[in-house]
């Protein structure tokens, strides 16, 4: 049932639970916890120059779409944090760098993020979510997936513009833009549009992603 029709029906009878439209509240979109997203790092981070606690800007690369409704547009700004940084040492000791995505800023609201992985990887994986950048320059596993990620002489660098995956950290509702366009979603294509989503995120599926060893 289209969202507007649902709102009109609400006059005569209680609307379906998934509809969040009312006459005295702005429409919102519910985004489930663990929804995967793609972000772009907007600063260069390095094991040689970054320090724990450094904050860095990021932005949303692809809009967050739930059941065909765009809740958070591409380009939305956010912030990440350097969790751990250690310079490369002598005798071939590689540098270490662990970063995380903290939030996206939507108006006055911060959408908390988690599980950041640099260079793609499987956003549904619950294993190995540390950004394992503590690798040696002799890494032999494929680095082609690690766009914007460099290892040079044991120093680790995430270049400005590097892509990463992350997840929404908790169930959250965001206000819909005044005229939020319904877009074709690759997920839930058979589902009717609704303003409150019940998208399932597969929490049980653990898998392995590419990594590097010395």
């Amino acid at each position: 049932m289209p969202a507007m029709a649902a709102a009109q029906d609400a006059v005569a009878e209680p609307p379906p639970a998934e509809v969040a439209l009312s006459t005295d509240a702005a429409p919102t979109l519910a985004i489930p916890r663990l929804t995967p997203i793609v972000i772009e790092v907007l600063a260069t981070l390095s094991s040689e120059t970054s320090t724990s606690g450094d904050r860095f800007p990021l932005r949303l690369v692809e809009p967050i779409v739930v059941d065909g409704v765009t809740g958070v547009p591409a380009g939305t700004a956010g912030e990440g944090e350097v969790i751990h940084a250690k310079r490369k040492g002598g005798m071939g000791a590689a540098g270490e760098l662990i970063v995380t995505a903290r939030f996206l800023q939507v108006g006055d609201q911060q959408i908390p993020l988690r599980s950041m992985r640099v260079g793609g990887g499987d956003p549904t994986s619950r294993i190995d979510t540390v950004n394992n950048l503590a690798v040696a320059s002799t890494a032999t596993l494929p680095l082609v997936a690690l766009v914007g990620f460099f290892i040079e002489g044991g120093a680790l660098t995430i270049a400005e513009g590097a892509r990463a995956s992350a997840r929404i950290a908790q169930d959250i509702s965001v206000p819909l833009p005044a005229a939020a366009p319904a877009v074709e979603s690759t997920e839930h294509q058979d589902d009717p549009p609704a303003l409150t989503a019940a998208a399932e995120v597969d929490e049980q599926q653990g898998s392995i992603v590419e990594g590097e060893t010395e």
């Binding site: 662990i98 596993l141 992603v209």
Partner: protein, 162 residues
């Protein structure tokens, strides 16, 4: 007529064992995350232990366990930032962001020092862990120094199995 036995009908517990690993890793309990600390077998510092601690000079300072040569342990803890460290000749530290429902890997290596070996901890990953999983066994219960560290019985491993 075939009937499913209760064990078949029940849903298997979630498992975080990486594909190819010879070490079984359970999923952390709801609302918790976990870190797998391991040390593959090596001639360097063979007799030395790699004692992993958490916090220093803070109320949560605690010894977790000591990794002998070719040992591993699983530490389940609350989500958030955790500071781990090791020390012998020199101190080495690693901060991790533990996230609920997730498993991370940390490797300890004994590196060459001036007078003796010096332990070094650093982030690892599933690929590296799987490569070394054939050469590691669970730390002895006697060396489990923290209630958050899983004992052999909790992992369904015979205590004396190596």
């Amino acid at each position: 007529m075939l009937l499913a036995s209760p064990s078949v009908a029940q849903e298997a517990p979630a498992d975080h064992t990486p594909a190819g690993s010879e070490v079984t890793i359970p999923a952390p309990p709801t609302g918790m995350g976990q870190v797998v600390f391991y040390r593959t077998g090596s001639m360097m510092g063979m007799a030395m232990g790699c004692q992993v601690n958490e916090g220093e000079g803070t109320p949560d300072e605690a010894k977790l366990s000591s990794l002998g040569n070719g040992k591993y342990f699983i530490y389940q803890t609350t989500p958030g930032s955790h500071d781990f460290w090791v020390r012998n000749e020199r101190r080495d530290a690693l901060t991790l962001l533990v996230e609920d429902g997730e498993t991370q890997f940390v490797r300890c290596k004994i590196k060459m020092g001036l007078m003796s070996g010096r332990p070094d901890i650093r982030p690892s990953d599933t690929v590296e862990f799987v490569e070394g999983s054939g050469s590691v066994s669970l730390v002895d219960d006697d060396d489990m120094l923290n209630p958050g560290v899983l004992r052999a019985a909790q992992l369904g491993i015979a205590p004396d199995a190596d």
